[in-house]
Assembly symmetry: C2
Homo-oligomer: 349 residues x 2
């Protein structure tokens, strides 16, 4: 079971808004609806939305009535723009779409059906690679986890945030698979509660012991010596190692450093954006205040009360112990080590 | 309208579990129910539960069938123990109960009705004093707030956390009353959402501009220069200036210091516990995991998922810029300045 997949000429996704109450999969036969599903967070998590966008672009190719290559490329350009705009912070949307557009541009003009097939194949490869990359990050990251450790984790970075296995939660899966006895403190992760809803659901299924905590409680557990390591994901990492991730990550990182607890983002190189010198350049999405005021339709304050809802924050690299990638763990100075990690990926192609 | 008051020979409290959806007052004619109301958080906030316990002890005196002073004192000792055990972290419960027990002990043995009247009078005085103290803290604290400031605030420290006016939110009221243009970022304060439910309700009524934010977002606003000062309350402050307050306060304090933002607890001297050398000695209440898993009966995760729910954390004094008391602002070294603040209160009696 994959979070995002191609099924019967449609894009199929697990509807993550309904978990853990209901397991449902949605099938999309229009790339506009795929973009909307990304915006509405049917699917979320940087690697998962990258894969969704890739399948969305393949879908656009099959939707297009174009009979020649230039017409198809024009339609694909339009679909690419729509998909890239679905959410602003994670770089994987653009990365995945650009990768497929390169494939489209490189095809010989032998016929539009060949381009369609090539795009679907490229999307499938991207999804398969995502799982392989996560397993490699899991192996590198699990070496950081000691038997008996308590791991603090934010948001959801698991199978549901990727195609399968996960990034930070993938490291936790790998450590568990190695037989290490671990315990996970799951930040519930307001406002959208990805920790309480999604990460808890995944760990329950995997048989990995955990406790859900209010985000506010993480500091208490860190200060009182009950946390050994903090593992998080990243939606976009700048060239200098500044990490944009789910809102609340920054506070965790600062408090972790204050308590001498190692803080590791687990980051496929596809989420590293070397074009940005620092995290200050990463666009931060501000979402509907209703997510704060009425999570999943359950009001916690009157609907007309004012609220602010930034969805991500930036953790400056000085709080980052190391960055786990599929090519190993990058350590400071990140300008050098992240560039090397990205080059390692390019060289392996 | 007071949060806690004596009404028609009963203890009347605003039922804070129902706000902002419903404004209801509960009347209690049995001190056991007053203790239960404190445990169940019908009333919360250190000064408010102190006043509730004082009225509860007065109620116990009227409930007692004792016909002589020794018998009444025995009943009061039993009631005092019950009331003190209602919640462990805030010191005001013990402070208020002990103050009334001293009054009871000092009465001439002229008759039990005199003791009953003296206890009620003492409880009334304690409640009246609480408001006066809050106004004085408001005046001292408002001097720290500049025109145009954005204030970050955690939990509820307003009229509802006291008898009236408030501690940290009282400072905000006082600054607003002075005509300063201020904006307040209200941490929603999971798990019990005192910020989103209670502080927002109070500020709405007072006409003070605010935004509710997820607790996770506070770091983002601090790091990006959108917060000028952090104001919080305290449930118990140790002799060295370590501050126990609502869970999440510690993370705020660390991140505030990291960003050069002043962090001030607003603390009546009744919440300063000079008998404790440091915050490590303050008992931290751990409440029902259901508060995390199903806030106000609305499930965010399956009820059988494990959760941890510490209700308070300790902020070491090195993160504290100053402590606003009714006798002025205490600055480091807090060992000296807090002792002076407490002595000032004793001298003024």
């Amino acid at each position: 079971m994959r979070t995002v997949e191609w099924h019967d000429n449609q894009v199929r996704m697990i509807d993550q808004r309904k978990l853990p109450w209901e397991f449902a999969q949605n099938d999309y036969d229009d790339y506009h609806d795929v973009a909307m599903a990304i915006t509405d967070m049917v699917v979320r998590g940087a690697p998962a939305i990258g894969a969704a966008a890739a399948f969305g672009l393949a879908l656009a190719a099959f939707q297009s009535p174009a009979a020649d290559q230039p017409a198809l490329l024009r339609d694909l350009e339009s679909a690419a723009a729509t998909l890239k705009q679905a959410r602003p912070t994670a770089v994987n949307l653009a990365w995945a779409v650009d990768r497929l557009m390169q494939v489209a541009g490189k095809q010989k003009p032998t016929g539009v059906d060949d381009i369609r097939a090539a795009l679907l194949s490229a999307a499938q490869s991207l999804a398969d690679e995502d799982i392989a990359i996560n397993k490699r990050m899991g192996a590198h990251g699990a070496a950081l986890v000691q038997d008996g450790d308590t791991i603090l984790h934010h948001c959801n970075t698991g199978a549901l945030a990727t195609v399968d296995w996960g990034t930070a939660l993938g490291v936790i899966r790998s450590a568990h698979e190695q037989g290490k006895k671990i315990h996970v403190l799951l930040d519930e992760t307001r406002p959208r509660l990805q920790g309480a809803r999604l990460s808890a659901w995944e760990l329950k299924q995997a048989g990995i012991p955990f406790d859900i905590i209010a985000d506010n409680a993480a500091g208490h557990f860190m200060r009182t010596g009950q946390v050994n390591i903090v593992l998080v994901g990243s939606d976009r990492t700048a060239a200098n190692g500044d990490v944009a991730n789910k809102i609340g990550t920054y506070k965790l990182a600062v408090v972790a450093r204050e308590n001498g607890i190692p803080f590791y983002p687990v980051v496929p190189t596809s989420t590293i954006d070397l074009s940005l010198a620092s995290g200050d350049e990463i666009p931060i999405e501000e979402r509907d205040p209703a997510e704060v005021l009425a999570p999943f339709g359950k009001p916690i304050a009157p609907a007309d009360y004012p609220a602010r809802n930034p969805a991500f924050d930036v953790t400056p690299h000085r709080y980052v112990t190391g960055i786990v990638t599929e090519n190993g763990i990058a350590y400071p100075p990140f300008d050098l080590s992240l560039r090397q990690a990205v080059e390692d990926t390019l060289m392996s192609k």
